[in-house]
Amino acid sequence: MADTYPQSSGAGADFDLSQFYQIFFEEAGENLDQMERMLLNLDLDAANDEELNGIFRCAHSIKGGAATFGFSDVAELTHHMESLLDKLRRHELRLIAPMVDALLESADASRSLLARHQAGGQGEAPSTHDLVRSISELVSGAVPAIPAPVVEQPQPAPAPGPAAVAPALPTAAAGGQRALEIHIGPLDQPALADAIKELFRDIPGLGQIEDLPDERAGMRRFAVQTVSSDEDLLDLFAFHVAKEQVAIHGAAVAAPADQAAITPAEQYGFFAGAPGVPVDEVAAAALAVTGAPVASAVKPAQARAPAESRQGTQASMESSTIRVAVNKVDQLINLVGELVITQAMLAQNSRGLDAGLHQQLLAGLADLDRNTRDLQESVMSIRMIPMSTVFNRFPRMLRDLAGKLGKKVDFVTHGEATELDKSLVEKITDPLTHLVRNSLDHGIEAPEARLAVGKPEHGTLTLSASHQGGSIAIEVRDDGKGMSREKILKKARERGLDVHDAMPDGEVWQLIFAPGFSTADVVTDVSGRGVGMDVVKRNISALGGSVEIDSAEGYGMRVSVRLPLTLAIMDGMSVGVGEEVYILPLSSVVESFQVNADDLNTVAQGSQLVKVRGDYMPVVALERIFQVPRTTDAQGPGNNIMVVVEADGSRVAVLVDELLGQHQVVVKNLETNYRKVPNVSGATILGDGTVALILDTGALVRRARH
């Protein structure tokens, strides 16, 4: 089906519907998500009316919007979904697994169609022919084991007529309206021909169709009024019945009077005698008016607010949520960040003031401090979205994957309402998907294997999220076969990694994050947990997070991910080197201490090592990396302050002049504001207005290692 965009639709020139496309795309996406979720939760044997109605309503909403905004292919597909769902909710058909499959596939197809429209209609439209056919068969009950007879039932469908959408109508044959007689059959399931009737209801402007009696077995006869050519009709019907089964017999060209059959009156109507009915309308329709007062009689007399203030009222009367462009929120966050900095500057500059002389000023500054913090918290919360947006994608993925692998799994989620910064949610989705996939693919055993070791046939995969202090903890847990300590150690030795038998479990599990640890033989031996785990770890570290693993062979495995709540603010430790101040992310700071010159050893190429509790650790001298001379008095003996930072599982000692303190910093992106600087992850503005660089501990560790 070709696309129709409102430019070519019947909408008046004053109404450019394209301004509503984006809202529609988002809304349709949400409806599809919801539909998918509800379909996955459906219990085939005990689907209740409420669930079926909910799913129906999703399809119905998408269809209505798609038809209104001119996305006829989406409207057609969702119309068929709706027909099937309507029969289900009316208990005319019994719910069976193929229906859920077809509906899920159709939801996917609708998504692709919508994505194509969203991209401006570029590229080939995916074919929905087979889907439509299989849904039609399901609707007509042409599936074995469903005895339900097909009752002819009025289907919800848009009436014909020149509506806002004129979807890809076959070009009108010369001569305009034609009256035809169409014979369809012989069909095994004559009810299949009902789909043809629906086409006429579904496609505005196609024309009208009426049943004619037909005594022949398997045959159906219709009277049709249309402007479309025979060829176009056959093409359209081919969705449902083979061309050979359709015979079109031309009747006399309809008189102009017949065209009145498709009048605007079909598009709307008034009930005679109903409250508020316009008198002349009803009179024109020659219907009895039984004293219905007209609208003007009840016009409220109150004074109305002027137009400008009405805008405000209207906004306040909106629903309880609003949609705002992300860049507006980001701008707000940015401004609040600036405010936080200004506030910190004021606080710093007022520190020396006499409390007695400037009592009011200081009280005001204290208020400002509190309000700024509250404001910052509120603004940050705008960007927070619930984890359910990530969790919701898994039931479908697991259903498909479990089907493919022949495994059985129950998916359990906890804490879907836990909120996380939008940008983090987007970035954590891929690593989480990887972990969940791995759990099912390599953790949970096949049903026979589970039964053989006395486990229930269905494995359980649990995904949970919770707030823990300033971070969020996400856990992927399965009751599969877990990992084998011995096998990992063996593999590590083969790869020449430094391991020993007395290593604590935690360190052994961490080995699977080593780059390249995942090789084909590990996949079979160690349940393949290594596949891409180094990438998962790296992605999570890049977000300022950490990953921990716990496993019990034979019982299952747990992967815990900890992430900061937001990337816009972080807890930092400020350190001084010479005249400069640098920020170290507090999450990667392990400890700090003073070292004696004796504990420092210089090795090849001038790199230094420091001895900490008997172990040697590489030293990173910021003065060399950033070429900032240290102050002379800081260089004296005993003045070597080291801050140990950890990243990617390794530790380095950062040599600094002084420790200045710990505080929250507003992270400014250097790449967008300046350019990428090696060893630096961002910048922030300090209380005194100076800029401090935030160090990229991962880069520092890598630098020291190589």
Binding site: A11, F15, G65, P275, S296, P300
Partner: protein, 120 residues
């Protein structure tokens, strides 16, 4: 300026209707479903109600029935927006006290045309 209560659970349909009516010089109050519409109708006197038929919580037919029980809305025009122009729907609409129906999808121009027939 006359006031219209536009009730639809679909944000895009609601925005489209609201934009169309606002452009035609009406004041529009939006509601996300029948229940919300009842509250809005209580808080603001409206001259016409345009309600989608199929909505969660309270559908268009249910909303019509409830509004007719309200002294202020005994004879206010209520139009039901529907994709089903079946007799069954019409009977339900008539029984609930609706003024008329308008089939979706509709052309913005048609919408204004129908509204102007009912409120002038």
């Amino acid at each position: 300026m006359q006031s219209i209560l536009a009730v639809d659970d679909s944000p895009s349909m609601r925005k489209m209707v609201s934009f169309t009516l606002t452009s035609a010089g009406y004041h529009v109050v939006e509601a996300v479903d029948g229940q919300d519409a009842l509250e809005k109708a209580e808080a603001h006197a409206v001259d016409l109600v345009l309600a989608d038929q199929n909505m969660p919580r309270l559908d268009g037919i249910g909303l019509t029935r409830k509004l007719r029980e309200h002294p202020r809305y005994k004879s206010t025009p209520i139009l039901i927006l529907t994709t089903e122009s079946s007799d069954q729907m019409k009977q339900a609409g008539r029984a609930a006290g609706a003024t008329g129906w308008l089939v979706k999808p509709f052309d913005p121009v048609r919408l204004i045309e129908v509204i102007q027939k009912v409120i002038r």
